[in-house]
């Protein structure tokens, strides 16, 4: 691999890690279910970009594009299910806060 494409990989990696930090922080700190799902989305987006960058620098764009399309399909399904569960919880509790649902303890 040439030094130039390695350099561009590092540049991308730098910002992708920062996006990861944003998403992970959101996931860890928030108590709102929708916001947790948004944090998850940020993480998945960072991963898809990482895979595309890897495909670009290793010259395997066709492979990584195929993988990313699959990941996007799966991501949508997971998000819809998570949103559905959050909505159901809201119907029960009138609240989206995870702290309100500690009924399973014991």
């Amino acid at each position: 691999m040439s030094g130039e494409s390695w350099q561009s990989f590092l540049t991308f990696g730098f910002f992708i890690v920062l996006t990861f930090v944003c998403g992970a922080y959101c996931l860890l700190v928030t108590r709102n279910m929708i916001r947790a799902i948004i944090g998850l989305e940020l993480l998945i987006k960072a991963v898809t970009l990482l895979i595309i960058v890897v495909g670009h620098v290793t010259g395997r764009v066709a492979l990584t594009q195929a993988l990313v399309i699959t990941i996007i399909v799966i991501e949508v399904v997971v998000t819809v299910i998570a949103g559905g569960i959050a909505l159901r919880v809201f119907r029960h509790n009138n609240s989206l806060y995870i702290g309100d649902l500690n009924k399973l303890k014991g």
Binding site: L27, I44, L50, T58, L63, L67, V78, I81, I85, K103
Partner: protein, 473 residues
């Protein structure tokens, strides 16, 4: 031809959801039962004609590199048996036919996902099948749509999705290093030392798998998910889903790709020992039967991890055997729990008592399950625990083998508490024996436990001895 195990259920699934639903709803149960039993028979027989024969036309169309070895056979057998048990329980615990139809559909999807996971030799396909299983499980846990089920499902979804992200990040780095997603290519690229990024990738991958498997310290979701799920689903989840999604994949990726070096080995031993202790002591304090069984699950998974961590043939064979046994007895205990739940409507053990007299089959099989879980000879759980402890002792980890033995005593203690509270003693409540399906499932699983325990030498030669091939690859 192994691809038929994926393709036939998929076509059947589509056919079941075509119009004319009234007939299909009746057919669904029998279709699923036939499917699972076929899978059991194929996995026991492992006849080369089915597993190695290449269908010319299908092969050109359905270009899949499934590789089925003896580890896959054991897992396929497990998946078949536990899915059958779960299906039988579903038939008698869900009375609305429409609801049951949906549940059976999801059960088939989950079992396709698991079968695919254990057969594939491509890291990305493994991720896809894991995701199929996981998505089916989220919906199955939330199936009853009460607040507990929804919370359990949401927790599982969040942790599982986090694990998925770790796995995907790791896959991205592995593609960078290997340029491909097949096990063999990655294994070649990974074994060259001195790549810090690759070490990070391996760590992320294994952490992700441990979250899915519920190993301490990633176990927070396990009790909630197990106890919130409907009866038949908790049988499936506790019996097989977490074992395939977390533990099988861990064993497979380490043996086929990453290799078991010193650091991984000591990490596995440490985490296994912590899991054993945390699970066992947490189980002691539980009042809810399903939660106690869930913590017991965490503890038993610790045994599997610790056995695998020895890295010797005996340890790995013991771990795989314990994986199988644990699937069987945990499924059995959850079937019994669902029998009790279907009659009493509660899982609080303080409100039970004397059920053995009223529910003889459930009581008797749960004693078998309990003794097997505690490792009492000649039941099958004894042999696998013995193998793990001997392997630990021989590889020089004396402290860990002592932990394993002592935790066995704790296991016996909490299971005896459960038995005494739930099944023995006196109670005047008028309950009747559980339905036929539940009885069939529990007798089947108890039969497997006793049969394997008695015919252990035969089982060892036929199923476990060939596992040498996965170590010396």
């Amino acid at each position: 031809m192994p691809s038929l195990l994926i393709l036939v259920p998929l076509i059947g699934l589509v056919a079941l959801n075509l119009p004319n639903k009234d007939i299909m709803r009746k057919l669904a149960f029998w279709f699923a039962l036939g499917l699972f039993i076929t899978q059991i028979l194929l996995a026991i027989q492992h006849h080369p004609v089915f597993w190695n024969y290449q269908l010319e036309k299908m092969d050109s169309f359905f270009r899949v590199n499934f590789s089925v070895d003896h580890l896959s056979f054991i897992m396929l057998l497990c998946i078949g048996i536990v899915s059958t048990a779960s299906l039988l329980v579903a038939r008698h615990t869900i009375h609305d036919e429409k609801e049951r139809f949906k549940l059976i559909n999801l059960l088939i999807i989950a079992s396709i996902g698991m079968s695919g996971t254990v057969m594939t030799s491509d890291i990305f396909s493994m991720y896809i099948f894991l995701e199929i299983t996981a998505i089916a499980s989220f919906i199955l846990i939330a199936f009853e749509k009460n607040i507990y089920a929804l919370e359990g499902a949401f927790k599982y979804l969040m942790l599982s999705a986090t694990a998925t992200i770790m796995i995907l990040t790791s896959i991205a780095i592995l593609i960078l290093a290997a340029g491909s997603t097949s096990f063999s290519d990655i294994s070649q690229a990974v074994r060259s030392p001195g790549n810090n990024i690759v070490v990070v990738a391996i760590g992320l991958f294994l952490c992700g798998l441990m979250i899915k498997g519920g190993v301490v310290p990633f176990h927070a979701w396990v009790p909630d998910a197990y106890s919130a799920a409907p009866a038949s689903v908790s049988v499936l989840l506790a019996g097989i889903v977490t074992k395939v999604a977390g533990i099988y994949t861990l064993i497979r990726t380490i043996t086929a790709i990453f290799g078991l070096d010193g650091a991984t080995r000591s990490a596995l031993l440490m985490l296994g020992a912590i899991s054993i202790l945390v699970g066992a002591f947490a189980a002691l304090g539980q009042k809810n039967m399903k939660r106690m069984l869930a913590y017991s699950s965490i503890s038993q998974i610790g045994y599997i991890i610790i056995g695998f961590g020895t890295g010797t043939f005996l340890g790995i064979a013991g771990a795989v055997f314990h994986l199988f046994n644990h699937s069987m007895f945990k499924a059995l205990l959850f079937v019994n729990a669902s029998a009790v739940e279907s009659r009493l409507g509660t899982m609080d053990m303080d409100k039970m008592g004397g059920l053995s007299a009223k529910m003889p089959v459930t009581g008797a099989t749960s004693v078998i399950g309990m003794l097997s879980a505690a490792g009492i000879p000649p039941l099958s759980g004894f042999w696998s625990k013995l193998m793990i402890i001997v392997a630990l002792w021989r590889s020089g980890d004396h402290a860990y083998s002592i932990i394993a033995i002592l935790a066995g005593v704790v296991t016996l203690a909490y299971l005896l508490i459960m038995q005494r509270k739930a099944f023995f003693g006196k109670d005047n409540e008028s309950v009747s024996e559980a339905g036929l399906g539940i009885k069939t499932a529990s007798v089947m699983l108890a039969g497997v436990l006793v049969g394997i325990g008695i015919s252990f030498p035969f089982i060892f030669n036929r199923f476990l001895a060939p596992l040498r091939e996965i170590i010396h690859r």
